[in-house]
Symmetry: C2
DNA sequence: ATAGCTGCAAAATGTTTGCGCGAAA
DNA sequence: TTTCGCGCAAACATTTTGCAGCTAT
């Protein structure tokens, strides 16, 4: 794979993102530093980076578009139904589940997509 | 809500589906019995039934489109990466997780979206 | 020099919606 | 008779793709 400034900036910007942005949000922010950037390039590079295992997709967030996550390791997401923020949490809880599923269903788990939805602490204190 | 033959057939057909069909797949099958049916109606009714809690959406399956599930209660899905079949399993594993998350993050979990991907027993025996 | 990557625009895909008609109450 | 739901088609939103030119190697 050849170097490209676009890809470098896309990855860099994703890493520095406070949230888990959509392709569009990422596009807008990278565009500030590289105004000729096109949205197609963002999609192409995000797909590439996912294939390379350098970033991850976050699905099931309720939003229409896929969100991206610069964390490489598998983890869970808490999605706040009120403010739509996403909190990352570790996944140790599920280590035991895989072998149980292997025993019971003879199904070999290789990937976990876990999204728990609810109300975050900020929203639950604000909501009274 | 007013009765409609379309909605009745859509729900009925979903219940009898062997898989977890997409809106399109459901549309094609219901159309056999009601050839004037339109795809828009299928979407409208599926959304309605989800709101009423009579069916569920299955997201994160890797497929581009949402799949629907006639099971009303929360449960987990095992998605086979080889044959794309989806297996339903119960979710007792996670009951303990919610309170842990409440303690640790003060986040109140109300919905679980859990998809575990891997290789099903049929595919793992076929694949050698 | 020559792949490979980009920008652009068009296409593809999945889902929603406005409208006028027909059907349920 | 009065709504509500339908069929149809157009609109919409997101993502992918073909192509011609530019850029890293």
């Amino acid at each position: 794979m050849r170097y490209s400034r676009q890809r470098e900036l896309i990855l860099e910007t994703l890493k520095n993102f406070e949230n888990h942005p959509t392709a569009e949000q990422l596009y807008l922010r990278v565009k500030d530093q590289l105004p000729t950037l096109s949205l197609g390039t963002v999609y192409r590079n995000l797909n590439l980076l996912v294939e390379l295992g350098q970033i991850r997709k976050v699905e099931s967030t309720g939003s229409a578009s896929v969100r991206y996550d610069a964390r490489k390791d598998e983890h869970c997401h808490l999605v706040c139904l009120s403010c739509n923020s996403i909190i990352d949490i570790d996944l140790d809880y599920f280590n035991s589940v895989d072998s149980k599923i292997k025993d019971e269903f003879n199904f070999t788990v290789t990937e976990h997509e876990v999204v728990l939805k609810g109300i975050c602490s900020k929203c639950s204190s604000a909501e009274k």
